[in-house]
């Protein structure tokens, strides 16, 4: 029975080729937008253990992390050219499809008893696998084990790739989600923190690539047509036909990749719609995991000058004047819109309302870097309770002083803004931050005031806040997709993954 290749196993093998290659290319795209692998959750400058970029940053002028992405070729990354939004769309589309199919595969393995093909009967299999390795090194081809279609070392490697490596990737992928990571901070810490988890995910990529290279090499060594016809017909009786059909399948996969690349590049909204259908049920559900980051202490905080930041501060004289004056007399936060009691609050007002409140949380940038910030400020639910949103209020909009064309050297567009549904605004660790670790907010981190949304990736925690507006619809603001990057690029408003 274990020497058979059931049709569902052969289908799964083919589907795996498609999704693993989509994962690899889209994962490389994601890596390329912050192409540095760190060990420390603080992502310190120069502290990376590996980098995958040819870009040297300027030595004296401030640079945001958003400028650290590299322009990868569309041959290795999907879709290439530093398009993180589309890379994430493809990665998460593949997650949904592949995980569902993987679960179905595991269930079928279990109920049919075929799981035994991947599970060593006893420890003797490991000894036999060592002997197989010696035979390969002696340029000999070890025979298959009795009752199995492959030898011992193949069984162990297939078992690793089918049973262990997917779990490794699912766990390390899931814990890069800000919603999951911040809802389970103890598990995140036990895994080594955000950057170690990212590194472990990268090593999973390397494991897949190494497996593919060795696997394809072994297929060719054992006879291409003979081996791939097992994946076509379930037997090796027709190696030529099997080889031709399998090769046609591979060509089809290549065409899927070409279509994916060209559609992402030329018609990105098509992929956005596909993503929204397949992935949004998950990202919507993840919103039900509020941040519970209460375990970080002062020792965990990234010192203020080193908390990484993306985006460039406002470059107007008005903002510079506020900076020079220390904000106290010049800055006023307006909160209005669909509320019973619009308010104008100075920083002193906000400090009185905050009454020493702070939270220490991990910042998860969509690019992949992280820092740990101690944010002093007012819980957003507290502010909203003061202004009393009217019945029918659905969302909260934050507007920034930052104008992307004027201020940022990486992006073009109008004023930066973000929106959040009321449920997200009312989460316990949604915060309006007016200080950092007992001092004022650094300019690069959003002085005098920024938002903290701890269930989402960092770009939704808008900086340099001008005013807050409660609304009953957000589709009439900007381009109607709920934020600057949502309007102008391929980023979903649901950033819980």
């Amino acid at each position: 029975m274990l020497t058979d290749f059931p049709v569902w196993l052969r289908i799964e093998h083919f589907v795996n080729i498609l999704f693993i290659t989509l994962f690899i290319r889209s994962g490389i795209e994601i890596l390329g937008t912050f192409p540095k692998l760190h060990r420390s959750v603080h992502s310190p400058l120069g502290g990376q253990w590996a980098q995958f970029t040819i870009k040297e940053k300027r030595k004296r002028k401030y640079f945001p992390v958003s400028g650290e992405y590299d322009d990868y070729s569309p041959i290795v990354s999907l879709p290439g050219h530093g398009d993180l939004g589309q890379g994430r769309y493809w990665h998460f589309i593949s997650v949904i499809c592949w995980v569902l199919l993987m679960v179905a595969y595991w269930i079928l393995l279990l109920v049919t008893g075929q799981w035994r093909r991947y599970w060593p009967e006893d420890l003797g299999v490991f000894v036999e696998a060592w002997d197989n390795l010696i035979q390969y090194l002696a340029f000999q081809v070890p025979p298959a084990m009795d009752g199995y279609p492959f030898n011992a070392i193949q069984q162990l490697s297939y078992g690793f790739v089918v049973l262990i490596l997917p779990l490794w990737m699912i766990i390390t992928g899931a814990f890069q989600s800000p919603a999951i990571n911040n809802h389970f901070p103890r598990i995140s810490r036990a895994l080594g923190g955000r950057q170690v988890i990212r590194t472990l995910h990268f090593w999973g990529l390397i494991a897949y690539v190494v497996f593919i290279l060795i696997h394809v090499g072994m297929v060719i060594l054992h006879g291409y047509g003979h081996e791939v016809s097992k994946m076509v017909f379930g037997h090796a009786d027709h190696p030529v036909a099997g080889g031709v059909i399998f090769t046609i399948g591979l060509v089809f996969i290549v065409f899927v990749h070409i279509w994916a690349t060209m559609t992402s590049t030329n018609r990105p909204r098509v992929i956005e719609r596909l993503h929204n259908v397949l992935v949004r049920p998950l990202t919507r559900a993840l919103r039900k995991l509020p941040s519970r980051q209460h375990l970080y202490t002062s020792d965990d905080v990234t010192p203020a000058p080193h908390h990484r930041a993306s985006g460039m501060p406002p470059s107007t004289e008005a903002y510079m004047a506020m900076v020079c004056n220390g904000y106290e007399d010049d800055y006023v936060l307006e909160i209005g819109g669909y509320v019973e009691k619009p308010m104008r609050l100075t920083l002193q007002d906000l400090r009185e309302i905050a009454d020493g409140h702070s939270q220490t949380t991990v910042h998860h940038c969509v690019q992949g870097f992280s820092s740990v910030g101690k944010w002093d400020g007012v819980a957003l639910p507290t502010l909203l309770d003061l202004v009393r949103p009217l019945d029918g209020a659905t969302d909260v909009v934050v507007h920034s002083f930052q104008n992307m064309t004027r201020d940022d050297d990486s992006y073009n567009g109008s004023y930066y803004y973000e929106t959040m549904p009321m449920a997200e605004a009312m989460q316990p660790q949604s915060l309006i931050a007016i200080g950092y670790d007992g001092d004022e907010l650094p300019i690069k981190n959003g002085a005098p005031m920024r938002l903290r949304l701890e269930t989402s990736t960092g770009f939704r925690s808008a900086k340099w806040l001008d005013r807050i507006e409660v609304v009953n619809r957000f589709d009439i603001i900007g381009n109607g997709k709920g934020g600057f990057f949502e309007d102008t690029d391929s980023y979903d408003r649901l950033q819980t993954l």
């Binding site: 253990w49 040297e56 300027r58 004296r60 002028k61 590299d70 070729s73 010696i134 002696a138 340029f139």
Partner: protein, 165 residues
């Protein structure tokens, strides 16, 4: 290290290293830089130790690759031994010297192809054949690592990539 293009002020502008004139991107391997100097040095020493061990196994066997093969292989073992001692007790950058035992192993392997190399089909045992081929693979691995060091992909202790951003 590739210099910044002419006219680029590196204090205020980003610049891309290793991009050939007229091209948009650098060669593929220029994008990979690993900064694990102690681990890299440990791997280099492990590769050389395995090379020496396998060469010694073949030298001690009764299936030499060619006449005088034992002398050649013991020479490889001795050179590898010097490399290992220097690598373990000093901070010297011995990577060029390591090419000598590595190339020596590969030359001995080539010599075996024209002689009576210990392959299974030549009557050698599986383990002896595996040792012989592993010696060759270690020699190749060392050449690749040496190239990666020179290319900037890897650094070995006491060197460092010098990342600052």
């Amino acid at each position: 290290m590739s210099d910044a293009p002419a006219g680029v002020d590196i204090n205020t502008h980003d610049w891309n290293r290793h991009v050939p004139p007229g091209r948009k991107r650098a060669p593929f391997f220029r994008y990979i830089r690993i900064n694990l100097p102690r681990l890299t040095k440990a791997v280099i020493l492990a590769v050389m130790a395995l090379l020496a061990f396998c060469a010694g196994v073949v030298a001690l066997s009764d299936h030499l690759p060619f006449v005088g093969g034992d002398i050649a292989l013991w020479l490889v073992v001795a050179l590898a031994g010097i490399f290992l001692v220097a690598g373990l007790v000093t901070r010297a950058r011995i990577w060029d010297f390591g090419m000598v035992p590595a190339l020596g192993a590969l030359i001995a392997y080539l010599g075996g192809l024209f002689g009576t190399a210990p392959y299974v089909w030549n009557g050698a045992s599986v383990h002896l054949a595996a040792a012989w081929n592993t010696m060759m693979l270690c020699g190749l691995a060392y050449l690749i690592i040496r190239w990666a060091l020179a290319y900037g992909i890897l650094v070995a202790h006491p060197d460092d990539q010098g990342f600052v951003d």
